[in-house]
Every structure is written in C-alpha cells, then in structure tokens.
C-alpha cells in the first residue's frame, strides 16, 4: 500500500459523461436501491466509468459520478482512493495485474515480475506505445493455478516466464491469447488428468444400491 493521488492535471481530461448505453445501465443500477439510497451504486458506477475511460478514473469521472448520485465530491473521492481496483492514473491498453501474494510467490511470481520489469518497466508505468502497463495486486483467488496474472477480465494461469512472455507477445501483436491455464490442464482440475476416484468400477451399476 502506498499513498494514492489523482493523476497530474495535464493528464486529466476536462469532461466526462457516461455513454448512452452506460447511462442506461447506470440508471438500472440505481433503480436497485430504495429511494434516497442511490449512493449505494457508487462502486458499480465508478467501475463502469473506469471501463469507459479505458482502465482508469479521471477526476472528471469522479466528479460526474458524485453529481449523478447527489453525493459530495469528497465522498466519491474517498471511495475511489480507498479501493486499489480503481486506477487513478492512465494505464496501458493491456493492463497486467500480477498476483504477488504468497501462493503465487511460492510458485514463481518472482519470475513473472522480472518479465514485467524487463518488457514493460516499473509498476504503473505505461510503455511508450501506450500498450502495456502492469501492477502487482493482492490475491486474485486463483491459487490453485498459481502463478497467474489478470488482463482485463481474463485470468492467465499456470504461467512460467516463458509462457507469460508468449502471452505478452500475442497481446503485442494485437491478438487476444486464450485465457485460462497456459499448460495442458482443464481449468483448475489436476495437472495431467484426474488423480483420485479413478477406479472405473466406482461408476458401474453394481455399486449402486
């Protein structure tokens, strides 16, 4: 954790307005809550605003959400600075969230971090072409497939330095790599096929009573 600040003014767009689709969606979110409790929708709205802007929250978006929900500006800023999932500065088109919590560390997140530093640079640094940035995050809940990274809403799991490099290569080429385990494995099932309950007779009719 560290002190989080809004991006410097020269990076800030002047205006923000929800797109037509997002506005309809936002109204739907607010309608979920009883009258006078529309402030409860602040996190979904900020999240959608971040998506719309391209992965980060400009000050104008914070202000717009506050006015949309009838909240004081500072109240929304509190929320935006509290949650690290809100990026306060621009990120690359491919924003890599690298899990750095214990299970991933034990399974080789250090190697992935070296790849990030070599290919992208420091955390929250955007490459010159505007394509890549990365950040270390806390546990993303995919410990079975450690180490892993998240890009957009996809998980890339069971990575090695080499396979992670390939994933980045494909992103660099403008393609979207196949999400999920990057080794021969079905989701989070055991590597190399099932290891328990393999006795076929378990499934024969004779065992049923």
């Amino acid at each position: 954790m560290s002190v989080r600040r809004l991006a410097p003014p020269e990076q800030q767009p002047k205006e923000f307005a929800f797109s037509k689709d997002n506005l309809a969606w936002a109204k739907q979110q607010i309608a979920k809550y009883p009258e006078g409790r529309q402030q409860s929708a602040v996190i979904p709205l900020l999240w959608r605003a971040q998506e719309q802007v391209g992965g980060w929250l400009p000050e104008a978006a914070i202000r717009a959400v506050a006015e949309f929900l009838g909240m004081a500006h500072i109240r929304v800023l509190e929320v935006a600075t509290f949650y690290t999932m809100f990026n306060l500065a621009p990120v690359g088109k491919v924003h890599v969230q690298l899990c750095g919590t214990t299970p991933c560390r034990l399974r080789g997140a250090d190697e992935l971090e070296k790849v990030c530093r070599k290919r992208i640079g420091d955390q929250m640094h955007v490459t010159e072409d505007g394509k890549f940035s990365w950040v270390e995050v806390e546990c993303l809940g995919a410990c079975v497939n450690a180490p892993m990274v998240q890009v957009g809403s996809d998980y890339y799991e069971d990575l090695t330095a080499e396979s992670f490099g390939k994933v980045l290569d494909q992103f660099a080429a403008g393609k979207t790599p196949k999400p999920g385990p990057q080794i021969d494995r079905q989701l989070s099932a055991p590597v190399g096929g099932p290891t328990t309950l393999t006795d076929k007779s378990l499934y024969s009719d004779s065992k049923r009573s």
């Binding site: 954790m1 560290s2 002190v3 989080r4 809004l6 000050e59 009838g70 909240m71 004081a72 500006h73 500072i74 109240r75 800023l77 509190e78 600075t81 509290f82």
Partner: protein
C-alpha cells in the same frame, strides 16, 4: 434502568446509555480521541477500552451500549472495570500505536499545552518508546484561510469529517486512501466553505488542525482567560477571550447548551485581528473639513458649543448594533435630559415596537426550543448567514427526524432541505393555500422564524402582523409553546427594545434623523446608516468605519472585549460580557464617555460608577438583573400583533445579511474576514458542493 457495577460501585443507568456514559455516571474518567458528545460514534481510536467481566477482550466503551451486554446467568449486575491491569495495558498499547506515527514535535506545535494526545499520553501511556523505525510523513493540505494543517500529526479520529458532515452540513472534509495512508483533505484541496469550519480546530484532539491566524502567536499558559459573550450576531454565544498583556490573542467557544452548545461561527472566532486595526484611540475634531486629533476637553467643548445653539428637539441619537445595555440606558437618559425624543436603535429601520409587547420581537421558542419544534417556517431570513450556530441547531433538529421546513424569501443553501414556498409577502398571506400549510397544521409545536430582514422595510409592520397571524392560525401559540420567533442580527437590538430605545411621541426615527431631521446627531457605534450632509455628527465608537468618516467629533469607545456590558440575545436571554482587555490609547468605556459628556453639557448623569449605572438600570428594568435568564414574554401580544393588519407591498422578502463576514465595523476591519469574504464570493460563482446527508 439497568444495574451495573463499575469499579466496585453500583450504578443505575438507562439502558440506552453507552458504556462510556455509564462509566462517567459512575464517576470514572474514560480517555477518548474519536468520541465526542455532539458527533456520531466512530469507535476508531480505541482509547476508551474498558473491561467487561465475562468478555475476554477489552471493549470500546464509546461504541457499546448498556443494553448490548449479555446478562449474567444468575441475573446479577454486570461488572465493569476501568482501572484493571488489563485496561491499563490495553490503553498503553493503544497509545503506543497512536504514537508510532505521531511526530515528536510538541515544542513547535501550537496545540502544545492544550493537547489531548499530550495529556492522555502522560496519563495513560507507557513511559518509554520501543519504536525505532521510520515514522510516516504526510503532505500538508490547504483547506482554507482559517485552518492550518500539519497532517503528519493526524491520528485519524475523523472528528473533523463528522463535524463538517453532521453539524456544519457542508460535507467537504473526507479521508482519502486507507489504513496508515489515510489522509484528511477536502476535494482537490478546495477551501472549506462552512461558516462553522473553525470548530474543527477545537475538535482536533492533536495539532493536525490548528488556527491559521493564531499560528505561533501564543502559548496557552501565557494567556489570561476571560469568560464572556459574543456580539457578532444576536445569539450571544458563550465565548472565552484569551488575552496576553493588553492584546486579545484569540476567542474560543464555551459550552452553553441553551445557546451555542459548543460551537461558534468563524466570524466570532476570527474577528480578533479586527480589534487591532482601524481603531480609534483618541478623540478627533473636524476642522475645515479635515479631522484632526484633539483632547477630550476640546472634543467635549465642541459638542457643548454646538448644543448651545441647538434646541433639545433638534438633537438625536442612533444606537449601533454592538452597544451594551448600560451605555444605551445612559444615552437614553442623556437624551431625555436634553429634552429630545429622537432616539432609535433600529439602524435598519426594522418595524419593531416595544409598545407591542416583548413577545413581538423575541425568539420566543428559544434556541434550545428549536429541538422541540416539529415544523418550521422561515420568513425572510437566511439563518445560515444571520446566525450560523442557530442554523446548526435547526439542522440538528432536521437530522433527528421528520421536520418539514418551508422557506419564504431567499432561496439559499441552508444545509438542510426545505420546501420553497415563494419570495414575497403574498406567499405568506396565502400560506393556507399552500401544501406546506398541512404540515404546519399537523405540527404540535410549529415554529415561525421571522428574519430581521423581513421587517426592515417600509411595510415591515404589515409583514410582522402577517407572520403573527400565521403563528396564531397554525397553532404556534399554545400553553407552553410560543412559536413566533424573531431572529435578530444585531447583538444590541433586543436590549435596546427592552430599554425602549425607539422614538417616543413626536420623535424622529433613524431614517428621518439620518436624512437631516436633526441638527446634532449622536451615533453610538452606528455604522450601518448613511447620514446626509447637514447635522453635526458626534460618533462614539471603536473603528474608523462609516460613522467615523461622517463624524464632526469622534469620541473613541471600547469594543466588546474591553468593557463589561449586558447584552440581551435574540431569545431575550440577559447575558453579561466581561472585560478581558483595555481600550487602546485614550479610548474609554462608552458609558464613561457619556457620563463625562453629560457633565460637559451641563446635564450630569447621576451615576459615577458602572455599578451605580447598573443600579439605576436594574431599578428601571428589573429583568436586566437576572443574568442568563429569560424573562417570560406575554404570548397574547402575538395575537394583538396579528390583528394589526396592514398591506404589504410586492417586494421580495430578503435576508438582512448580504455578506456574512462584513456585518459590523469590527469584522470590516479584519483582514481575515476580508479574505474569507473574497473566497466565499468566488465560491458562490461555482456550483454548490453540498448534498443533503
């Protein structure tokens, strides 16, 4: 009632009490940082930990209710301890954690000597530090010209945030970031806009928020503390004036639950520098169109010379907004002796008449009574600007539950939501047809708040009558409740009306005197009137303001911290201001000036001391004797006022205060008030930030 045994002492407390209140009822002292009686409970500082026998861990007493305790199986009372070894150790631990990131800069900290953290570290902390790592450092924030921030000292109690959100009603302060990196700030470091913002300085238990104008000015132990009352508005908030030598260093609030609770407005607090600048410290005399300094003798001789050629009927006096009862009484006495009926204290020309009864000009519901009201109609007033502390009381009531509020007049941000009914007197006349009338009718204790601005116009009497009619019509006058309440803006006004400082039969009022209806005009601190060329003007006052510029003779008087005087606040509460300092230079207390002047004019007033003057005052007006009390007013006067009738014109009802920071000569002389005013005017151009919470 619930029985508890606290530190071996059995107490009976209501079940809605918190454990902290219960412990205090048992006489135990509980340290705290985040807890404050007037704010919501946060429970985040953990300093108030106590032991509840049966619960293995120490409990935050501020956040746990008596009724939350699980009863003992055998029905015996729960046992609490505030002094056990466990509590001692827990507090030491909490204190150690609080001090981990707190700088050791007490020697250069303005809070030093009156710091909760300092005091409680002495009382409840451990004697040595085990901490060897680096401390956190936090960037200081700009949050306005009144509050200085040294954010490294912040212990995250969030009192300031809760105050601005709950009491001030302008949610500008917030905590960004989280955990150790949490920082208190305003949105993008904008200046705060609340008129009550400086109270966060008092609330801050450490030196993170301190007073900017008072920075590095004095240490608390070198100050003389005088309890007094404020005159910046008509509330008469309880204040403490701190002086060093003959200089007023700062003004702090005192607790008075009947009036200001524990808040004061920024004007009350920061007008201090206005007491030093633009002061009149010697008599002046106008010669050949220019003012020159003179001796008292010369000044008096000039006035006596003028009086000789003037008949009593052509002498007049206008009393200003900051005058105490003593000097007003002395002035009236002097005018009577000079044979003049021309005396008026209503600089704004407001249609108050003592003959219509005291109830017709008092805030009859009382300030504390606002909390018993269940509907409010505001007529021609902006209480946020006219009396911010009273506005905070209205907001407190509004937050407490259903409280329909209707406003006729200015459509302003009052920090609470209201039904806007209209701008003119016709709305008031046709109130029964509005939807809001139902809310008023349904209310048991409706409150009709009438601003002084609504009555300070030609048709003022008609509007007062209309408001009184509404009060009678909607049941605001019942046994035990009088909801007809006038919010004055001048500290001297109610006292002046009590003393009858309005022109008696054949006398001229303020407008007629100022227009030149008299030849010799005394201004007792009257700076809000423009006197036409013609009359010989004698100005008795404190500052080189409008009155002094027009004056032919200036007699330098004493400002409110420099004299002992009686003030009657808007609800009719008689209060005494005490002398904390001395007037500068040759300036004298106003009553003494009048006494000396009367001698020079050959109509000597029969009192040689302040106590003799007070005796005469009390003999004539016995209710002035009862300090801190409200002499009951006759509610039947409201009915008579209602019958007065009259036709109001079509003009909009407006507040009498256009600029909160510039309402009197002391405030106008203050550089800090000027800065605040400029900021407020600039902020008014931007969109309002506030949101109802």
């Amino acid at each position: 009632m619930a029985k508890l045994i606290i530190d071996g002492k059995e107490v009976d407390v209501p079940p809605e009490y918190t454990l902290l209140q219960a412990c205090e009822a048992a006489g135990a002292e509980i340290p705290r940082f985040c807890f404050h009686e007037q704010l919501s409970i946060a429970g985040n500082c953990r300093m108030c930990l106590i032991e509840v026998v049966g619960i293995p861990k120490p409990q935050a007493s501020c956040a746990m209710g008596v009724k939350d305790l699980m009863p003992n199986k055998d029905g015996s009372p729960k046992v609490l301890s505030t002094k056990s070894p466990m509590v001692k150790k827990a507090r030491e631990g909490v204190m150690e954690f609080l001090l981990v990131n707190h700088p050791l800069d007490c020697p250069i900290c303005d809070q030093g000597g009156e710091c909760d953290l300092q005091d409680q570290a002495m009382a409840y902390g451990s004697d040595a530090s085990r901490y060897a790592e680096n401390k956190r450092a936090v960037e200081d924030k700009y949050i306005g010209p009144l509050v200085k921030t040294i954010m490294t000292r912040c212990i995250h109690c969030t009192r300031c945030i809760r105050f601005s959100t709950e009491v001030a009603g302008v949610p500008e302060l917030g905590a960004i970031g989280r955990g150790e990196d949490m920082e208190i700030t305003t949105y993008l470091e904008h200046a705060m806009t609340s008129e009550l913002q400086s109270n966060v300085v008092d609330l801050c238990p450490v030196g993170a928020l301190t007073s900017k104008p008072y920075a590095f000015a004095a240490r608390p132990w070198e100050l003389n503390k005088t309890q007094s009352v404020d005159v910046m508005d008509a509330l008469g908030s309880a204040i403490r004036i701190d002086t060093r030598g003959r200089e007023v260093m700062r003004i702090l609030p005192r607790n008075n639950d009947d009036v200001n609770e524990e808040w004061i407005s920024d004007k009350t607090r920061h007008v201090v520098d206005g007491l030093r600048t633009q002061r009149l410290d010697q008599p002046y005399l106008r010669e050949n169109g220019r003012l020159r300094s003179a001796s008292w003798k010369e000044a008096f001789a000039a006035i006596a010379g003028k009086l000789k050629s003037t008949s009593g009927k052509k002498v007049g006096a206008i009393v200003g907004d900051l005058a105490g009862a003593e000097e007003m009484y002395a002035l009236k006495d002097l005018m009577t002796r000079l044979g003049s009926a021309n005396i008026d204290a209503r600089q704004d020309g407001a249609a108050f008449d003592p003959k219509r009864g005291r109830a017709s000009y008092l805030f009859n519901a009382t300030i504390a009574g606002i909390e018993h009201a269940d509907a409010l109609l505001i007529v021609g007033s902006n209480p946020r600007r006219e009396a911010p502390v009273l506005n905070a009381r209205i907001r407190k009531r509004w937050r407490a539950g259903p409280f329909p509020i209707g406003v006729i007049g200015d459509k302003a941000d009052l920090t609470y939501s209201y039904d806007y009914l209209g701008a003119g007197a016709d709305t008031l006349a046709g109130l029964a047809q509005t939807k809001f009338a139902e809310a008023l009718k349904a209310a048991k204790n409706p409150l009709i708040l009438v601003g002084a601005g609504a009555l300070a116009r030609k048709d003022g009497a008609a509007i007062a009558s209309l408001a009184a009619r509404a009060a009678v019509e909607f049941g605001a006058i019942t046994d035990g409740w009088n909801g007809f309440s006038v919010l004055h803006t001048a500290a001297s006004r109610v006292g002046a009306l009590d003393l009858g400082l309005t022109p008696s039969a054949g006398g001229l009022d303020v407008a007629q005197m100022a227009a030149g209806g008299v030849e010799l005009l005394f201004l007792l601190g009257a700076d809000e009137v423009e006197v036409a060329p013609g009359p010989f003007v004698v100005y008795i006052g404190t500052h080189g303001d409008r009155g002094a510029h027009r004056a032919d003779v200036i007699l330098p008087g004493a400002a409110y911290p420099e004299k002992s005087a009686i003030y009657v606040n808007t609800e009719g509460r008689v209060q005494m201001a005490s002398r904390a300092a001395f007037p500068p230079g040759d300036a004298r207390e106003d009553w003494a000036i009048l006494r000396a002047l009367s001698d020079a004019l050959g109509h000597t007033l029969p009192y040689d001391s302040l106590s003799a003057l007070r005796q005469a005052l009390f003999a004539a007006h016995p209710h002035m004797m009862h300090i801190d009390q409200i002499a009951p007013a006759d509610a039947a006067d409201i009915g008579k006022l209602a019958k007065l009738g009259g036709t109001p014109d079509k003009a909009q009802l407006a507040s009498s205060v256009a600029d909160f920071y510039f309402t009197n000569p002391i405030a106008r002389a203050s550089a800090i008030m000027a800065e605040c005013s400029a900021l407020a005017n600039a902020a008014a151009k931007h969109s309002p930030l506030t949101a109802a919470e």
